[in-house]
Symmetry: C2
Subunit: 334 residues, 2 copies
Amino acid sequence: MNFTRRRAIGLLAGGLLAARALPVRAQPDPLPSWNDGAPKKAILDFVARTTVEGAPDFVPPPERIAVFDNDGTLWTEQPIYFQFAFAIDRVKALAGQHPDWKEKEPFRSILAGDMAGFLATGEKGVVEVLAATHAGMTTDEFRKTVEEWIATARHPRFDRLYVDLVYQPMLELMAFLRANRFKTFIVSGGGIDFMRPWTGKVYGIPPEQVVGSAGVVKFELRDGKPVLIKEGKVEFIDDGPGKPVGIDRFIGRRPVFAFGNSDGDQQMLEYTAGGDRLRFMGLVHHTDAEREYAYDRQSPVGRLDKALDEARQRKWTVVDMKADWNTIYPFQRK
Amino acid sequence: MNFTRRRAIGLLAGGLLAARALPVRAQPDPLPSWNDGAPKKAILDFVARTTVEGAPDFVPPPERIAVFDNDGTLWTEQPIYFQFAFAIDRVKALAGQHPDWKEKEPFRSILAGDMAGFLATGEKGVVEVLAATHAGMTTDEFRKTVEEWIATARHPRFDRLYVDLVYQPMLELMAFLRANRFKTFIVSGGGIDFMRPWTGKVYGIPPEQVVGSAGVVKFELRDGKPVLIKEGKVEFIDDGPGKPVGIDRFIGRRPVFAFGNSDGDQQMLEYTAGGDRLRFMGLVHHTDAEREYAYDRQSPVGRLDKALDEARQRKWTVVDMKADWNTIYPFQRK
């Protein structure tokens, strides 16, 4: 190699090294929508301590399992769970094929726009609506109705697509974890088939990393074509004590990182807390009536009561949405 | 940029291109344990056609879902499913705590080494043995018994650890698929909790990519410690028409690549065949009594009858183990 060529390579190599060094020196904040405070510090500390090889709290990448509740943790859940809004819209869309619904509860109330009347039908009413709107079709057909709804339906208060109402700080958190070789999962009481069509695009979480409540599905050959039929029977409720069960069934490892926002997440956080390694348990506390909603112990949607007491007692991280997040939704970013 | 430097960069770039081209020219065979023949050609063609961006059959990486049956497809399943051998060993290990088993079927036959007597107790006997050996403990405790057994128990014919009896050609196939950005899953009639402790090390498939049959699991706080208890009730049988259901439930996408070896895999292959994209369906046909076992339509273990007919009729790939594999087990590699 002659001098000139060696020198050229040296210049090139130097340039490459400088280019690589630059982002380290001027590393941007991975969580810009989080204000400085205890939750942000706890997250950064946890990731720093678990990802340095040889450090006492190092967690090998395959064990870096992070689980997130969906409703109220990754996106808004007020004034009603978005999946309920979907079911109500489906009842309206299907009413033409069911003339009897005009006289039959809970459909009568829904079609009359009488939410109080619908809610008065209780759990039985909810189950009937879910069976009428989430079953009796193939999984492919159901996915299409979800895709259409999610691309068009708008939230009554914000007049935005529902998928616009995801929390920017949580998007940053999940991207930060993935950049540090954590595998992110959704573990939600919501329907698994309702979430999977859009979690990849919206959260970067593929269908196979979504755990949720499920109805019975049956394999059939229809005109020689293999299809899966959604039946009207509940198979699994991924809520409360069902969440650790769902984690065990679908993931098969105990998470080291878990985030929720309601009493339905308490056992998931307890199960995560029961592991041997350093671990992180977090709750989103909805304290911002102005930018989002403020609710906890008395709310019928996303009630946070016992889990809040346990979090404070055990020093889990509690996010005060109003104080800790400078941005709520992606469309508000400056 | 002066001429000398530009020339140096040109030389460097040329070198880099040559270096990149080299492995293409002298690329080692990714499937050395497969003899040249129709199955090997079909696999190589499928991967070539689905992974070139812009090609008509290109499959985007997230959709590259490959599913494999386990027993008889990835490891041997004769003379009895290895999980049965585990259950029998557990009965023997636990017999001291159950003095009544000496007089009580199916345990009496197992303890007396009378396999015909055990098999005569039928499905009821099998369910009782599974309940006695796979339930009534935490998931962590069960995992430890599997880990101990898999590290010590030996196959009666080969006098090898059971995990030594995995198929070298299938290890190569899975590695080849993963190198081409396919995500590999196990979809097995075997117990999910029996497989997960060792599939990572043996197959490179992590617990969260293992789908299998499962018993009911319950969340409990034991002395304040959160645990999951394995109960004696069957929750899900991941076999036959249960396989597409398990794929939908756990993975949430239709595979483009599926490999099985028995009638229990027929619906999984049909479901895969029903997709829109180019897809691959394969069966391992056990034809090698000398190096492994030869069995199909008459075998009580791993019966291959209807699926073999369908495979031939629909031109799915059928591997003739004797003719198509030059090596069966990793320890036989030259």
